[in-house]
């Protein structure tokens, strides 16, 4: 019933002309109906989303019908191909979305959102990120920061270690820990069907800060070969972090591939520390909360951004975040996207923690729930070069091959050339138009 009325409503709007939708959807107007959203959030993330949606439903009367799946690629492509798409999709990666957008299966947002307001509230990077072939396709409502090094300040001060500010300092800290008989790094790559992605984060962070945004953009767009000097250099730089045969990592290569990434931080908190630094995105604190005993933010763990490999790219950071897009044009969907871009909506998200950082510049720093998230928001605010997670931008099969390559690389670094050559082969087919 809901769907039928919605379709009728959408048709009515079309018939009545554009004038109606330009004004009536702003806050205050009761639209009613339902908006069907397909996404990946489950557990606590879903609870946060519900909290964000509550004022929207109260204001507009639009009910939220949310469907979560971990197999978003499969479900979304099937539903779109069958002519039964959700109204709005929230996707953690946009590789598949780029293909769908080029096939004309996605509704461009340029005339659906208030672009003046968006330009005022969003940094240009975040708007450009949503553009595919010049058309605004996706909208971001929050960001998560990658390339964060988590450490235990007590363990650092006990050994007299200083937080490194530069790559050189990081390298000398690494050697110091090794010479003290410790293991500098915790690395854990197991993540079931997505195993390897934490390592892919390392590589993309190094590519961005070592070779800069142009190389980075060409790379995820498939215009930069994996075997090129820059990309290969990033892998070898990561190899220096890992040490030969993973010697700089607690447990070595066997531990890396078999340990679930969420458990990777356990080593920081054992005493004596099994490893001293753990590179993960801002969401990792939700896993720390599950450790026994539960570590406390600030006293048991703190964070510093991975130093710039090349000072020419100071202030470059890899970020991630779910992309929202309209897979069907409905007034409810438009209203939802408009709402998600507001400071009000993002404020709720930010306050609930989980490492989410607002994109709307009107969200105040004082709204972040703790010191760590506040400092991360500060980093995002100071970011000069923000780039979205390259893996999430690549076509899905390229991304999966990238993850698989990470697993091969950590097991045998000397195979790098063959691994990169294989990735080049995938690159040729993955970027071919659908």
């Amino acid at each position: 019933m809901g769907r039928l009325t919605r379709i009728l409503a959408a048709m009515a709007i079309v018939v009545l002309g554009v004038t109606a939708c330009g004004t009536s959807n702003t806050a205050g107007g009761k639209i009613g109906g339902t908006v069907h959203i397909l996404g990946t959030w489950t557990g606590a993330e879903k609870d946060s989303f519900d909290a964000v949606m509550k004022p929207f439903t109260d204001q507009t009367g639009v009910k939220i019908s949310f469907e979560a799946t971990r197999d978003l690629d499969a479900i979304l492509q099937t539903k779109i191909a069958a002519g039964n798409p959700p109204d709005v999709t929230a996707a953690p990666g946009i590789g598949t979305l780029i293909k769908l957008a080029r096939a004309g299966k996605v509704v461009p947002l340029d005339d659906k959102l208030d672009t003046t307001e968006l330009n005022a509230n969003y940094g240009a990077d975040w708007i450009n990120l949503g553009k595919i072939d010049g058309k605004l396709i996706t909208l971001y409502a929050w960001a998560a920061l990658k390339g964060l090094v988590w450490y235990d300040p007590k363990a650092f001060s006990a050994k007299g270690y200083q937080v490194p500010k530069t790559w050189t300092e990081l390298m000398s800290l690494q050697s110091k820990i090794v010479s003290d008989g410790g293991k500098p790094w915790c690395v854990a790559l197991e993540s079931q069907a997505a195993s390897g992605w934490p390592g892919s984060d390392w590589v993309k962070e190094i590519v961005l800060s070592q070779s800069g945004p142009t190389v980075y953009d060409n790379w995820w767009q498939g215009k930069q070969k994996w075997t090129s000097t820059e990309i290969k250099q990033a892998w070898t730089t990561w190899g220096q972090i890992l040490g030969s045969n993973g010697a700089n990592v607690y447990g070595g290569k066997q531990y890396m591939v078999s340990t679930t990434f969420g458990d990777g931080g356990q080593g920081l908190f054992s005493s004596p520390a099994k490893c001293y630094m753990f590179n993960q995105g801002s969401f990792i604190t939700s896993f720390f909360d599950g450790y026994t005993p539960k570590p406390t933010a600030g006293t048991d763990y703190a964070v510093f951004p991975l130093p710039d490999v090349n000072t020419a790219n100071t202030g470059a950071h890899v970020v991630a975040g779910d992309a929202f897009l309209m897979t069907k044009d409905t007034p409810q969907g438009r209203a939802l996207l408009k709402y998600l871009a507001t400071a009000d909506a993002q404020d709720i998200w930010v306050k609930r923690g989980g490492g989410k950082i607002a994109i709307n510049k009107k969200v105040s720093l004082s709204d972040y729930p703790d010191a760590i998230s506040k400092s991360l928001a500060q980093v995002v605010g100071d970011t000069k070069i923000a780039r979205y997670d390259a893996g999430d931008l690549m076509p899905s099969d390229m991304q999966k091959a990238y993850w698989g390559a990470v697993l091969k690389f950590v097991q045998n670094q000397s195979q790098l050339d063959a691994i990169l050559a294989d990735l080049d082969k995938t690159q040729v087919t993955a970027y071919a138009s659908p």
């Binding site: 019933m1 489950t42 469907e67 971990r70 191909a81 079931q192 356990q266 896993f287 599950g290 026994t292």
Partner: protein
């Protein structure tokens, strides 16, 4: 299930199995070293339940605990057991409706293919018609069809017919349910027909001959002889079809979707865990909550696995 109970099972068969195994067993123990037998059975069973036992014990431990120590360590003091995982699963807001939705999907998706398969299997086993063996072989071959490849064409068809989730059928039923019943029927039929035809085919020929002499038509033979004599096969088919549909996640997501008003239990339980795997420990308790219903079905239908249904129908 219902197919089996619509016809009364002939009385002698229900009383016979109760006595017969006992007699046989006494003699058997005299023949086989029963100690050896028991050791073998118990050893195999123990080996089989170790993974499940680990899951059971860990379902009563905190997530952080089982990441740092093996499940067997919980069996020694201090007994740090917790109901946290069960509390999270049983407290899930959509648990009750999704239990209901699972029944809503599973019961018809078990009944329909079982009945249709029984009809077809009877014809394949006991009727002669053009192309019988080839059609049957083709059916068995269709077992190999990867279901993922049917999703797009079938969902397209369903949408064209108005059977997409969210549409309402006369009477108020969400059309997605009808779509998922039909899909599961099609997916389940090849195996169901294959299994039943095999069991029907080996029924003694003289049964059919004497029935024919008595003037019984195929419908009578089917309901009065074939079904009652194949109760163990029907029971196992019902168990499997029920189980497959109950445990299915992907087919349900495609045809009915994952919104709370239609989502089955598998969707709700999977969604307890964060999208990156936060609180994975909830899956331990979820596995047992979800397992309860199929196990009850299995236990209930076990009583149809009795020897002697064919007793007296064959001359030694």
């Amino acid at each position: 299930m219902s197919v089996a109970v619509t016809t009364p099972v002939p009385t002698p068969t229900t009383s016979a199995p109760a006595r017969r195994p006992k007699l046989r067993r006494q003699r058997l123990s005299a023949r086989v070293s029963s100690a050896g037998l028991n050791v073998a059975v118990v050893a195999l069973t123990l080996a089989w339940i170790v993974p499940t036992l680990g899951l059971l014990i860990n379902s009563f431990r905190a997530g952080g605990a089982f990441n740092t120590s093996g499940w067997w360590t919980a069996l020694a003091p201090p007994f740090n057991f917790t109901l946290d995982s069960y509390r999270a699963v049983l407290g899930a807001s959509d648990l009750a409706p999704s239990f209901f939705n699972s029944f809503m999907i599973t019961i018809p998706a078990t009944l329909i293919p079982t009945a249709i398969a029984a009809f077809a299997a009877y014809a394949f086993a006991w009727m002669k018609f053009w192309g019988r063996n080839w059609i049957f072989l083709a059916l068995v071959g269709l077992l190999a069809v990867p279901l993922q490849l049917t999703f797009i064409p079938l969902l397209t068809l369903a949408v064209k017919l108005g059977l997409n989730s969210g549409n309402t059928l006369p009477g108020g039923l969400n059309a997605g349910f009808l779509a998922v019943w039909i899909a599961h029927t099609g997916y389940g039929l090849p195996f169901a027909i294959y299994l039943l035809a095999n069991f029907f085919r080996v029924l003694p020929t003289d049964l059919f001959e004497s029935a024919e002499i008595d003037g019984a038509g195929p419908v009578t033979v089917f309901f009065r002889l074939v079904l009652p004599l194949s109760v163990p096969a029907l029971a196992s088919l019902v168990i499997f079809q029920f189980l497959w549909v109950w445990n299915d996640l992907l087919v349900a997501l495609i045809y009915v979707g994952g919104t709370p008003e239609v989502a089955p239990l598998t969707v709700t339980l999977t969604n307890l865990v964060g999208s990156l795997g936060q609180h994975r420990e909830y899956l331990t308790a979820a596995a047992f909550v979800s397992m309860a219903v199929p196990l009850i079905v299995f236990f209930t239908l076990q009583r149809y696995f009795v020897r002697g249904i064919l007793a007296g129908s064959v001359k030694g």
